[in-house]
Amino acid sequence: MIGTQQSRKNSLTSLILVAVMLAAVVVLDQVIKPTDSMSMLLKVLQKGSIYALAAVSMNLLNGFTGLFSLGHAGFMLIGAYTYAIFTIPSEARDVVYQYYDAAIRISFPEVLGNALGPVGTLVGVVLAVIAAGLAAAVIAWLIGLPVLRLKSDYLAIATLGFAEVVRAVFQWGKLGPVTNGSNPLKSFVRINAFQLKLGGTTISLTTFVPVLLATVCIAFIVLLVNSTYGRSFKAIRDDEVAAEAMGINLARHKMLSFCVSSFFAGVAGAGMAMVLGIAQASNFKSAMTYEILLMVVLGGIGSISGSCIGAMLFIAASEWWLRGLDSGVFLGINAPGIFRNGFRLVVFSVIIMIVVLFFRKGIMGDRELPDLLKKRPGKGAAGK
């Protein structure tokens, strides 16, 4: 009754906006050549969208359910490896597993591609991505049984420890036939493999694919957060005792949030592997979790659009805008004495401190983009 018409109009508007954004990405992909100076924009979009997904999935847990977990890199690692293992084509397998005898000898895109053609390849990739999410979610369920009894800092430490254990296990030589030990997995299906052939012209979907993947997943998280389950997550975050007294099963809902968050962390891991073209356990250090946490905090804890903005700004700043600080020339100033390796991080840290000082609740606070256009209910957070 209340506002259903309004919300339908809003969801239609956002649907159109997302479609326009995706179309723009496809166009950019065709217009910008790899040699252009603007080609960094594409790189940022590719990596940034995957990081945005990771940040949003972490926000679901930390910002919406109030469970402070730092195991994200671990779940992303599981996702990246699952995706990589199931998409390495058979002819490349022996080269990749050069020191081991590969144990898993199935490639989803290859098997389905042989059977169904290009569509089969695509389905195979999608299946591998879903498998990556499921693997992370199943592990999350197992870890969650003991760990979700903990609260705040203790939960953070336990999940952080878990992520480190996962990284160590995946590098373990005995698991080499599956994980390739501490050597990287490569040669699997990357984003630049996605092309659309229409008649004589080839449309590259290199940037479109990761952006689409992130968009679809984030859209699901938005839907979940605004559903009755998402509202219960927020209730648990606001007051656990009251939530339980009002009939919300804490164990079940925390586990649900943890598993869904981990599922999308796994998908983000798969996306990361797709973008980088390499899956190596040593890349998924706890520093990665902190980077993602930083994006969440910068964007605003409890704001999905905030996480996306945070991730994009973070990646753009560290990969593109501030590059010059490391390589001698920044904003046309040539000062190799100051702008040398490592200076970028100094400037970056200062910027982050300034942002946190001036936006104490992150860039978006707990608001979403559409909220900026309308007045907040009550005076609530006004005046901050």
Binding site: M1, I2, T4, F220, L223, L224, S227, T228, Y229, R231, S232, K234, A235, R237, D238, D239, V241, A242, A243, E244, A245, M246, G247, I248, N249, L250, A251, L256, V260, G302, D366, P377, G378, K379, G380
Partner: protein, 279 residues
């Protein structure tokens, strides 16, 4: 009239301290029953035992004729146990509070516990979640549109009944104190209970607000066919609306009866009510 809630020989012991000692009480359907007593008498502890926040050390709780909570001293408490009826209870039944709420018992808190980042409307809506049938996938993809719409309609009606409809889009914490209390009761009602437990609903209220609340609790009983069990210190409220009163002192039940009986009970006057000096 059938008994809706029965507490049988419930003892709650924390280490060496017996907070609730061999409590026996019954609440009948449609009644308003009050639990009174001096500070620290164990009233809220008794509530927490009934609603599953604490597991009693010994004893049982029945709801709608069914035994929902039962426990006996275990581990270290086996030796320490100071209460009565040891050995009479052998099973362990310890449902979590959410489970008990789903059975049809809802409570409010002594210190208001609203979900602070949520609006008035959402506070009530979230409380209906425990009656939702859709799983999280169905809910995310909005297959439960009908259920959701029904819930929203019910919230609107409930808010109208309790007089909070015009502030539905305000943040819960921006409401004045009296309205927050009202909202907490509305939220408890949204879980579809048969029995409503109110823990000091009039705490911190001025006489006028207390009077309004008294009328409000009466209205709830009548319009929702609700049974109400409440803890309260405002004697005007208690004497005004209660059908029966239980009095706790140092964890023990020292009296029970109608408001008149309680007012004239010597033990209650000594322990709690005191003698009115200006009378």
């Amino acid at each position: 009239m059938s008994t809706i809630l029965k507490v049988e020989n419930a003892t709650m012991q924390f280490g060496g301290v017996v907070a609730v000692d061999n409590l026996n009480l019954e609440v009948n359907e449609g009644e308003i029953v009050a639990l009174i007593g001096p500070n620290g008498a164990g009233k809220t502890t008794a509530f927490n035992v009934i609603t599953g926040v604490y597991q009693p050390t010994n004893g049982a709780v029945y709801f709608q004729g069914e035994r929902i909570v039962e426990n006996h001293p275990q581990g270290k408490l086996k030796k320490l146990y100071k209460g009565e009826h040891a050995g009479e209870y052998t099973r362990v039944l310890a449902p979590t509070p959410d489970h008990i709420t789903k059975l049809g018992m809802a409570r409010t808190f002594q210190n208001i516990r609203l979900w602070k980042s949520q609006t008035v409307f959402d506070n009530v809506l979230i409380a209906m979640h425990c009656r939702t049938h859709a799983n999280f996938l169905a809910a995310s993809f909005r297959f439960n549109r009908k259920e959701e719409r029904e819930q929203r309609d019910r919230v609107a009606r409930l808010l109208e009944t309790v007089g909070l409809y015009d502030v539905r889009n305000e943040l819960a914490t921006s409401l004045p104190y009296g309205k927050q209390r009202r909202l907490e009761i509305a939220r408890a009602l949204a879980t579809d209970p048969r029995l409503l437990l109110l823990d000091e609903p009039a705490a911190g209220m001025n006489p006028q607000e207390t009077q309004e609340l008294t009328a409000f609790i009466g209205e709830i009983r009548d319009s929702f066919h609700m049974t109400v069990f409440l803890i309260e210190h405002h004697m005007d409220l208690v004497m005004d609306i209660s059908d029966r009163i239980y009095v706790l002192d140092f964890g023990k039940l020292i009296a029970q009866g109608t408001p008149e009986e309680i007012q004239n009970n010597k033990r209650v006057i000594d322990a709690y009510l005191g003698v009115a000096e200006d009378a």
